[in-house]
């Protein structure tokens, strides 16, 4: 089943974690428990008061337990976004552990 993740290999993906964070980075690997390797990753922090803040994180291993959603990012569209002027409600936890 997890072979489906092959389509995301070496692409920039957006991950929503169980605690409601949004982490964006290049997917360098995964395994059968959906542990992920993200390279050059950053977190996008949403707020209704200020624009989207991008916090650099670097090389990350996210444990599969903590992965709620994975999506491929359209880099062309993403480059055109004006993050400083996008305000949004933070997501909040997807589940409680």
């Amino acid at each position: 089943m997890t072979q489906a993740l092959d389509t995301f290999m070496n692409k920039v993906i957006s991950v929503i974690t169980g605690d409601g964070r949004n982490i964006v980075g290049m997917m360098k690997g995964f395994d059968q428990t959906v542990n992920l390797i993200l390279e050059d990753s950053h977190e996008r922090v949403y707020s209704t008061q200020a624009g989207i803040e991008q916090v650099p994180l670097g090389l990350y291993i996210i444990r599969g337990d903590n992965v709620a959603l994975i999506g491929e990012l359209d880099e062309d569209i993403d480059k055109r976004l004006d993050f400083a002027n996008i305000k949004a409600e933070p997501l909040g936890p997807i589940w409680v552990l």
């Binding site: 690997g29 996210i62 444990r63 903590n66």
Partner: protein, 130 residues
């Protein structure tokens, strides 16, 4: 493709940050890890969920299932491919050594173990020499 647990193994002796599911973070040097992501850290600093309390811990063992994510130095991802290659090479050497050992230890069915082309009983054979 790199497997997350191979990357973790390569990160041994490097500094790393581990966030647990309860929000605590541990900054320390990875001593060892296993295939369940259980990890052994040395000289760790534990930061509370709110980031307001810190404590030094000379030795920490973390159960893999309590981990949310790990932050690893960027250069480790470049080292992992060489490490995987090295491990494969060692495994190959090991199996080869084992095979040779088995042959040497009475497993030599059907002719001399090496240099098979040599005529039997001749002077050029491997046997009878020492």
């Amino acid at each position: 493709m790199v497997l997350p647990l191979s990357l973790l193994r390569t990160a041994q002796n490097h500094p790393m940050l581990v966030e647990l599911k309860n929000g605590e973070t541990y900054n320390g040097h990875l001593v060892s890890c296993d295939s369940w992501m259980n990890i052994h850290l040395r000289d760790a600093i534990c930061t509370s969920r709110d980031g307001d309390r810190f404590q030094k811990m000379p030795e920490v063992y973390v159960r893999g299932s309590t981990i949310k994510y790990l932050r690893i130095p960027d250069e480790v991802v470049e080292m992992v491919k060489d490490e995987v290659k090295e491990v494969r090479r060692q495994q190959k050497d090991n199996t080869r050594a084992k095979k040779n050992f088995q042959r040497g230890a009475g497993g030599n069915v059907g002719g001399p173990p090496r240099g098979g082309g040599a005529p039997r009983g001749g002077r050029g054979g491997q046997r009878g020499r020492k």
